[in-house]
Structures are given as C-alpha cells and as structure tokens.
C-alpha cells in the first residue's frame, strides 16, 4: 500500500489538521514508512480469532440516574479560549 499526496490531504481533513503542500510531502513519506511496518500484520491468518478490544473482559458498569457532580461551570469555563454569559463562543455556523 502506498498513500498518494491526495490521500494525505484527505486524511488530514478527516483529522481536522491543516497540512500545506510542503508538509504533505513529508507526511506522505513518513506515513508510508509507518504503514510499511504495519503491513506485516496482513500476512497472519486470523480466521476465527475473536477481536480483542480490551485487556479485561468487562461489561459496562451502570450507576443510578442521579446527579452526582457539583456545578463547576465557572471553574471549567475559566480555562476556555472564549466564553460569554456562560456559553462557549465559536464562529457563526448557521447564517
């Protein structure tokens, strides 16, 4: 497998990371090198093997549907880039 420059740009957009043309060429070479390492997986026959997503076979713990967290909005919003009246500000999304 080999990624084209176009693939790199598509992945970068999926990841929401701006990559300019000069950078793209660098990433292309590095990502292809990494995928070269990853490709050795493909030689293994894994028919019938159950995928393992986690080290411990746990089921999701449930808790009672009650409010357990105190209101710390002021403290949490103090570290936000831009807030107003308790709301996070972002550029306008709907015209």
């Amino acid at each position: 497998m080999s990624l084209s420059l176009q693939d790199v740009q598509r992945i970068a957009h999926l990841a929401r990371i701006r990559v300019d043309e000069t950078e793209a060429a660098g990433y292309q070479a590095q990502l292809n090198g990494i995928f070269g390492l990853i490709e050795e997986m493909q030689a293994v026959d894994t028919t019938g093997i159950l995928p393992m997503s986690h080290a411990q076979d746990l089921s999701q713990r449930l808790r009672a549907d009650v409010i357990s967290e105190p209101d710390r909005r002021v403290a949490f919003q103090a570290v936000a880039p831009q807030v107003e009246n308790g709301l996070y500000l972002v550029p306008k999304v709907i015209e």
Partner: protein
C-alpha cells in the same frame, strides 16, 4: 541507600527531618540541575512548601500515614488543580487544571507534597522525550543522550536525584523504557489497577499509570498509594485493596522464571545480552529456576500497536478543538478553519502523524483490514502470555534493545524510534503488569534495564523477585555524577 522513599519515611517518622527540609533540599537540587536536564516543565516552590508544611502539621498531630511528608514529582499528564498541566504540548500550554486526577487525589490524601510537573513526550507519544513542546529532556548519565520516553522527565528527575520518586504512565513502554535508559526502577501495573481519571488520555485501552523510583520496594509502597477503585474510570477494577509490599521478603526458591525465546534472539546483542544473562545467573543462585517459554506472536506487537494506539488517539485527541480549553489559533475564518488551524498549530508533528494514521485506519473501507485485524492479533499476543504463565511465575527479558541513544539519532525515522519499544509493547496489549530494573552498565557507562513481566494481578510476586534481586545486586544504588 539514603534517598529511597523508604528511608525518607523513616527519617520523618523518627523526627530526624521535616517534610519542609526534605522539600527544600530537592527544590535546591532542581534549581541547580534542572537547567541542564530539563526534567521539569513546572516548579512552584511556594506550593510545594505549603504542602510540606501541611504534612509536617499532620505528622505533629499524630495523623501521618507511612509516606506523609515524602515528596514526589508528577508527570505533566496528570491534571493537578491549580497547576499548569501541559501534557508536553503547545495545545495545553495555557491549561491550569481546575481539578485533580484520581492519582493526584491519592497522593494528596497520603500527604505527599508535589515537587513539580515533569517533562514528557507530547501527549505521551514518543520514546526519547524529544517530541515535547518544552524541549528534550537530557539523560543524567550523559547529557548528550536521551532519557527515553515518554515519561523521560520523571525518569531523569529520579535518576538525577531531583526527586526521590515520580509518577509515570505507560501505553507501550513509557515507564519501563525510560526507567531502563536512566538506571531506575519503574512499574506498569495490570490494566485497571490505577484509575485513569484525570490522566490525559492517549490510547485508553492501553494507558496505565505507575510509579518510578530507586527500588522495587519503593515502587511497591507507591503502588499502595496510587492503586484503588475509582467509579469515575469505567475500566477501573473493583478489587480489594492489597499490600503490594507483602511478599517482598519471600525467598525465591522454586520461583519459575520464563525466558521467552523471542526475547533472546538476533535483536539482543552485546552488553545488554550479557547483563541480562548475568541477572538470570544471579536469580538462579537465589533459587529461581529458568524455564524456556515462547511468545510466537510477540513479533507482531509493534505493528498491531501502531494501528490500535493511533486509532484510539485520533478519537481521544479530537477533544482538542480550540473551543473548551487549551490553545486556539488567533486567526480563523469559520468553524472548520478554527479547528484545522488550531490543531495544525497546537500539535507537534509526531502527534499529527499518529492522529492521521488513526483517522486512516478507522476510515471507511479500511476498518477491517487494519483495526479489526490488529484487534485479532492483540488476542493472539495476549493468548501467548496465558500459555507462557502456565509454565512460569514471572517472565524475564531485556527492557529495551539498546541503552540510551544520542539526541537526534532516531528523530528522522519514526519507524526506527518505534522499535525502541519492541520488548515492552506486547505487555500493554495483553494488559499485564511489567517492570524495569537496573541490571548493569554498557561499555560506555550507560545503564541497562531488566524487564520482569507478571501474570494478571501478580504485581506482588513480580516485586518480590525484583526486591530479592536488588538485595543481591547493587546496580540500583549507582548514581550519575552531576
């Protein structure tokens, strides 16, 4: 040894030192030596001394626990209320945490003052501590060399005697490999033993926090503090508290030590091979019995890891979008522009590479070939360990293929850097406990690490073997001249 936490706790208990005095000593060493090592990102003497004074008051009132007043440094991946918590990234370079990680809460409850926040590879992605936004950490044994990573700041701080102990995290070897490269003892517990709440996530199914210190005994005492159930981490295990130091003094007679064929193959050469062989010989003298075992699929662990960890990272790091916390680009047109520029400017290149790999392997049409295939290999790798532990109590091998390498030596080729973790990654994929301890030096005077791997929840057995080895060898007592 005069600077183990075991010894410091005795000094405090006997009234021969106060926590304020101990903290002042370490802060002085940090002030003197940190400019050369860059092991700390944040030091705040006033905060440390306030915590130390509180510990002394607590002791005076008869409320002290075993480690009250003993200082510790924390990897900058742990959120600590009121402390800058950067995770080694420009993205969080302005983030003063509004809350404590569970690990931090536990150390606070134990009365252990924080000496500062240690440098690390950006978002814990790296094996040399060269990806940090705050610059590389230097190895106290040779400042032209790396301390390993990603917990490189913690490792260098402990090795350079800037702190008696530190916390680390290990996703693919990030406690064990830097411990090996700096000649200290570091332990990654069984997945789920230490809560991940407030520990900035890299790959959630692999991340686990653990102690880094001088000795196995210190690691046991620190794990007693760090471990424990926490409902806020959905993978935290509900188990009774245990004393990890309980078996330290057990004799090793009859202990079966598994030697995986795959760890002693062509990749293991020179001084590292010799030092590990000598460690096996010493353990045999102590009564342990070597057994040949095989981990046939472990050779696939690096490949599987570089699918699974980036996939989880791409999802975890999507939270850094310039909206709720951290860095935001000063100049943007619309929301997509805000996201893309914030992330392009806020993340370093290794983090971007891994996010992109993750986005790709999870994208439409590639999921089965990469992500699912890697999860299947993960099961094969874990099953190998289950088989191996039918024949032995502890597995032994090298921690890293080489001793500390020079700064810049492996930065050009990510793949070469990734192979630094060839002996440690399989342990994370299986979720087993593992540790590294010093077992000798190479011809250039650089420390060599011995890796022990325990069965699930067998930390106490592994620590027993490590402690008995340290009582009989002296490698862990050597310190670099600074």
């Amino acid at each position: 040894m005069t600077d183990t936490i075991k010894h410091l706790s005795t000094l405090l208990a006997e009234g021969k030192a106060s926590s304020v005095e101990l903290c002042q000593d370490y802060l002085g060493r940090i002030e003197r030596l940190n400019p050369a090592l860059n092991a700390f990102i944040t030091v705040d003497a006033e905060k440390t001394l306030t915590e130390a004074a509180a510990a002394d008051t607590r002791r005076a009132s008869g409320q002290a626990g075993p480690l009250t007043g003993v200082p510790i440094a924390h990897k900058d991946i742990f959120c600590a209320e009121g402390w800058l918590t950067t995770c080694g990234s420009k993205m969080l370079s302005n983030f003063v945490s509004p809350y404590d990680a569970h690990v931090i809460e536990q150390f606070k409850a134990a009365g252990m003052p924080c000496l500062g926040k240690t440098n690390m590879d950006e978002f814990a992605m790296g094996s040399s501590n060269e990806t940090s936004y705050y610059g590389p950490v230097r190895n106290p044994w040779d400042t032209d060399r790396v301390p390993g990573g990603s917990s490189g700041g913690s490792a260098a701080a402990v090795a350079g005697r800037l702190a008696p102990a530190a916390t680390g995290t290990d996703t693919g070897g990030s406690i064990r490999q830097p411990a090996a490269l700096t000649g200290i003892t570091g332990l990654k517990p069984t997945y789920g033993v230490v809560s991940r709440y407030g520990m900035i996530a890299f790959a959630s199914s692999l991340d686990q926090a653990g102690p880094m210190a001088r000795t196995a005994e210190d690691c046991a005492l620190l794990l007693n503090v760090m471990s424990g159930f926490d409902a806020r981490d959905s993978t935290s295990l509900e188990r009774a508290k245990e004393d990890y130091a309980r078996d330290l003094m057990q004799p090793l007679a009859g202990l079966k030590i598994g030697l995986p064929l795959e760890f002693f193959g062509e990749g293991l050469t020179g001084d590292t091979a010799r030092a590990v062989e000598e460690a096996i010989a010493l353990l045999k003298k102590l009564g342990a019995q070597p057994v040949a075992v095989s981990l046939p699929n472990s050779k696939l662990s690096v490949a599987a890891y570089y699918v699974l960890a980036p996939a989880e990272a791409s999802s975890n790091l999507s939270r850094f979008d310039g909206v709720r916390y951290g860095y935001r680009t000063p100049d943007y047109r619309d929301l997509t522009d805000l996201y893309e520029k914030t992330r392009a400017e806020g993340f370093g290149s290794e983090v971007k590479r891994r996010i992109m790999i993750g986005a790709y392997v999870l994208s439409h049409g590639y999921y089965d070939a990469y992500y699912l295939q890697a999860q299947k290999l993960r099961r094969l790798i874990a099953q190998d360990f289950v088989e191996a532990f039918r024949q032995c109590d502890v597995i032994l091998g090298p921690t890293a293929p080489t001793t500390a390498f020079k700064l810049g030596e492996k930065t050009a080729d990510p793949v070469e850097m990734y192979l630094s973790d060839i002996y440690t990654i399989a342990v994370n994929l299986a979720g087993l406990p593992g540790m590294s301890l010093p077992c000798g030096f190479d011809a250039q005077g650089l420390p060599i690490g011995l890796q022990l791997i325990g069965d699930y929840f067998a930390e106490a057995r592994m620590l027993n073997a490590a402690h008995q080895y340290q009582l009989a060898s002296g490698w862990h007592t050597r310190a670099p001249t600074l």
